[in-house]
């Protein structure tokens, strides 16, 4: 082994329950652990959103059992305004961090990146294990905020200062709850940094023979670029959280200006700037939303090709170019969250330029997907339906971005439900659709059993129609100036909009219920699903070349893997219209 070779791992099968399933070094187990954590988190986040939506539609409705969750927050089971804000804060935080950063990237990426590059494991299995358990600890600390002192924080997932930086005087939940939030997020950053290190090193150093960078599947490319973005983005959020903790607990004034009078008390801070928090937060926050969606780009591209039976229009090169452009540009646009925040107005014009330019790679990506459906031999299974759904909701969500990218129209739409519609479409819907597509596609490989297609299709149709019913009306509410983060609508111009909120709430509850179909399908498949063939989708990438489903602990059973093509050798008129990456044969003629 010379100096330029990556470290070769000698793999010994793990023994014992703890080593195999708890403190496992196996990237597949760790991937499933992340996925399981994300599944738990998404259901908690969804229940929080149901509580929020119920309150918005029917503000004085008692919700049975709510006072068990919080005696202060829901006396007589009726949600207080501050508790609504706390639920909203925890909903946003849990979804953005513990679901959208965990599942598509840490979950599926951990499971499949090593396999897709032909490696036996990640480059640093111990870092990998640590990254999961640090993330898990972050989750525990986060959940503690529900049960301490006067409850969870209410400053939103964006935790703008000084609301979040002066401690308990600014509102209920702002004492211990907000501090726990900051600690949890700081821990989360550390976990993500460890994970990113692993993904990047594995992609660069552990590719098997013949797996040049150009031949890597699009999902792998997406995970790789996401890791690069995350490496730098979380490195910015970590000190921001630490500075926040310093302001809250140690009396510094990074974010607190002089002259603040809260509850009739003049606070002793001076010299700080609330805008500093916004800069530090959004410099992380904007790349973060691309961290949430880029794995979906890669996964959807990958699964789409297996179901259109042809390579992507533009091949892997154009899509990779789009993904890299998005990653790069994502660092230049953070100020578009701050157009009316008090920054120099000229900076708004500056930030809007890269913000509008970033629509170009997004549009090209959509054109490549739609152009790939042209002339395809589309197979409609649940995974491919969620891919098509992803394209549709990404178009919807991306287009509302045009309005928010321009400072002039953002003056009106800022902080309205239009923004809520935009980010839910691209994150809550598109990214989640990517996770669903990945689950239906890869579950046969992960558990060796097929999920039920009928249940899957019910899940898809109810969800697809449901999310449009929930989030499309929010655009209309935003155009009517419906302000966001309101726990109730008491203003003259908002009262006529309450019926729309009621409609949205009902749609949200029904769509939420439809997710139980998915949960049941997972559970059923795990124990009673029919055994999965080795390659149920007739796909070509390396995960379908493993000797078993689930793969053995070292992925390929010790076999040396050699790769001869990229992962999209689909096409040809013969009975077998695909060529595996490991098969030296050439692509069948069309």
């Amino acid at each position: 082994m010379n100096d330029t070779q990556a470290a070769v791992h000698h793999h010994v099968a793990p023994q014992g329950f703890i080593r195999k399933y708890v403190f496992s070094l196996d990237h597949k187990v760790i991937g499933l652990q992340y996925y399981g954590l994300a599944l738990l988190a998404v259901f908690i986040g969804m229940v929080l959103s149901w509580l929020m939506r119920l309150h918005l539609g029917w503000a004085s409705l008692p919700i049975p059992g709510l006072h068990f969750l919080s005696a202060n927050g829901a006396p007589g089971n009726i949600m207080t305004p501050e508790y609504y804000l706390s639920l909203m804060t925890m909903h946003g935080t849990i979804m953005v961090f513990f679901v959208l950063t965990n599942a598509p990237f840490a979950g599926f990426g951990n499971y499949f990146l090593p396999i897709q590059v032909g490696a036996a494991d990640m480059a640093f299995p111990r870092f990998n294990m640590m990254s999961f358990w640090v993330t898990f600890t972050a989750f525990i600390v986060f959940m503690l905020a529900f049960f301490v002192g006067d409850g969870p924080p209410l400053a939103g997932w964006t935790a703008y200062t000084p609301l979040s930086s002066v401690g308990g005087t600014s509102g209920p939940g702002e004492a211990t709850g907000q501090t726990l939030w900051a600690i949890s997020i700081a821990l989360f950053c550390v976990g993500q940094l460890l994970g990113s290190l692993n993904f990047i090193t594995t992609t660069l150093d552990l590719r098997t023979k013949g797996m040049t960078l150009a031949r890597m599947p699009l999902s792998t490319w997406a995970w790789f670029v996401t890791a690069c973005i995350g490496l730098l983005a979380f490195a910015d959020l970590l000190p921001a959280c630490i500075l926040l903790i310093l302001d809250r607990a140690f009396g510094t004034s990074f974010f607190n200006p002089a002259g603040m009078v809260v509850s009739d008390q003049l606070l002793k801070y001076s010299g700080g700037s609330p805008l500093l928090w916004q800069h530090l937060f959004w410099f992380f926050g904007h790349p973060e939303v691309y961290i949430a969606i880029i794995p979906g780009f890669g996964i959807v591209s990958h699964i789409l090709c297996a179901n259109t039976r042809k390579p992507l229009l533009g091949g892997t090169r154009v899509m990779i170019g789009c993904i890299i452009a998005l990653g790069f540009l994502s660092y230049m646009v953070w100020g578009h969250h701050m157009f009316v925040s008090g920054l120099n107005p000229f900076s708004a014009l500056l930030f809007s330029v890269p913000t509008l330019i970033i629509t170009i790679p997004s549009t090209v990506a959509v054109l490549m997907w739609v152009g790939s459906v042209y002339g395809a031999k589309l197979r409609f299974n649940t995974a491919s339906l969620f891919c098509l759904g992803f394209i549709s909701v990404f178009i919807s969500g991306g287009i509302s971005g045009f309005f928010l990218a321009q400072p002039s129209t953002d003056i009106f739409l800022h902080a309205t439900y239009f923004v809520v519609a935009h980010f839910h479409f691209v994150m809550a819907v598109a990214a989640i659709f990517g996770i669903f597509a990945a689950t239906y596609f890869w579950m046969p490989k992960m558990i060796g059993r097929m999920m039920n297609e009928t249940l899957g299709k019910w899940h898809f149709w109810l969800t697809f129609i449901g999310v449009y019913c929930i989030f499309m009306p929010m655009h209309y509410l935003g155009l009517a100036a419906n302000v966001r983060r309101y726990s109730a609508f008491t203003d003259d111009f908002l009262i006529p909009l309450i019926p729309v909120h009621k409609f949205i709430t009902i749609a949200a509850l029904l769509t939420g219920a439809a997710q139980l179909i998915f949960l049941w399908n997972l559970f059923y498949a795990r124990f009673w699903g029919p055994k999965a063939p080795d390659n149920p989708w007739e796909a070509t990438s390396l995960e379908w070349s493993t000797p078993s489903s689930p793969p053995p602990f070292d992925n390929f059973g010790g076999k040396q893997i050699e790769v001869f093509h990229d992962a999209y050798q689909y096409g040809g008129a013969g009975a077998k219209d695909y060529v595996m990456q490991t098969d030296p044969a050439s692509v069948p003629a069309d």
Partner: protein, 266 residues
């Protein structure tokens, strides 16, 4: 089978979504400011372009799903001309759109934010706090008294922390809970916050501006219609955020002068 169903459902969703926009079922309230029409034009421009892209994207996707299912005998077709024309189309069309929107929109933005207020603008000092807005007029002497945070006392109504005993300019300052202004006159607001970040939003004026503690942020506008509208806080500021509001009262000039005289008399 799945493909045709997807195409139909997507088409219905697309057309329904577009309907409510075209029908203006829920829409921006009528504009009452001099700078509003430029913003509304920008909104319309953007809506046209967004609408075309939305309809085109969704309906073409639906069409392809309808046509290109895996039927026996179907053959793979590749996009005629390959990816290059499509990529070029994407870059050029979106690029042009981006340039157009940026150039057109910068004027609408600049008129509000990068133009100084008229020299004869009526100056109103605005203070935001958890959970109310207060407005201060300079009074007959035309001078605002100094603000002392340590003197702020909501209970006694000293919202701005004025010191009328030692500060002559503060003695005649008028402090009220609604923003009363004359129609067709330029108004200059100086926004400041005593505690959290708040926001001053009047949808009909097409004015929205965060109010940041530690900063004094100027915003100016001219109202073109008389009437009463709501000013709402749009930056999360605590538990009372949802009910933090004030009224904007736009009066004919003579009624405003009358009102101001009455306030000064108190």
């Amino acid at each position: 089978m799945g493909g045709k169903a997807f195409a139909v459902v997507l088409t219905i969703i697309t057309l329904l979504s577009a309907y409510f926009i075209v029908a203006h079922t829920w829409w921006l309230p009528a504009d009452i400011s001099t700078t509003g029409p430029a913003i509304d034009r920008q909104m319309d421009e953007t809506m046209w372009e967004a609408g075309i892209l939305f309809l085109a994207g969704q309906l073409v996707l639906a069409l392809f799903c309808w046509q290109y299912g895996d039927k026996p005998g179907s053959k793979i077709k590749h996009w005629p001309g390959g990816p290059k024309p499509v990529v070029a189309f994407g870059i050029i069309i979106v690029g042009l759109e981006v340039v157009a929107l940026s150039l057109l929109g910068s004027k609408a933005w600049g008129a509000i934010y990068m133009t100084p207020a008229a020299s004869d603008a009526i100056h109103v000092d605005v203070q935001a706090e958890q959970f109310a807005f207060f407005f201060r007029y300079a009074g007959p002497d035309g001078k605002f008294g100094a603000v002392h945070p340590e003197l702020i006392n909501d209970a006694s109504g000293n919202y701005f922390g004025l010191d009328p005993r030692n500060d002559e300019a503060a003695r005649d300052d008028i402090v009220v809970g609604s923003l009363t202004i004359p129609v067709n006159k330029p108004i200059l607001l100086t926004l400041h916050s005593k505690d959290m970040i708040h926001d001053f939003f009047v949808p009909e004026l097409r004015i929205q501006q965060d109010i940041v503690p530690g900063l004094e942020i100027p915003v100016h506008f001219t109202a073109t219609k008389t009437g009463r509208w709501e000013i709402v806080c749009t930056q999360l500021c605590g538990l009372g955020h949802y009910q933090m509001k004030a009224y904007l009262q736009v009066l004919p000039q003579d009624q405003f002068d009358e009102w101001l005289k009455q306030q000064s008399g108190d």
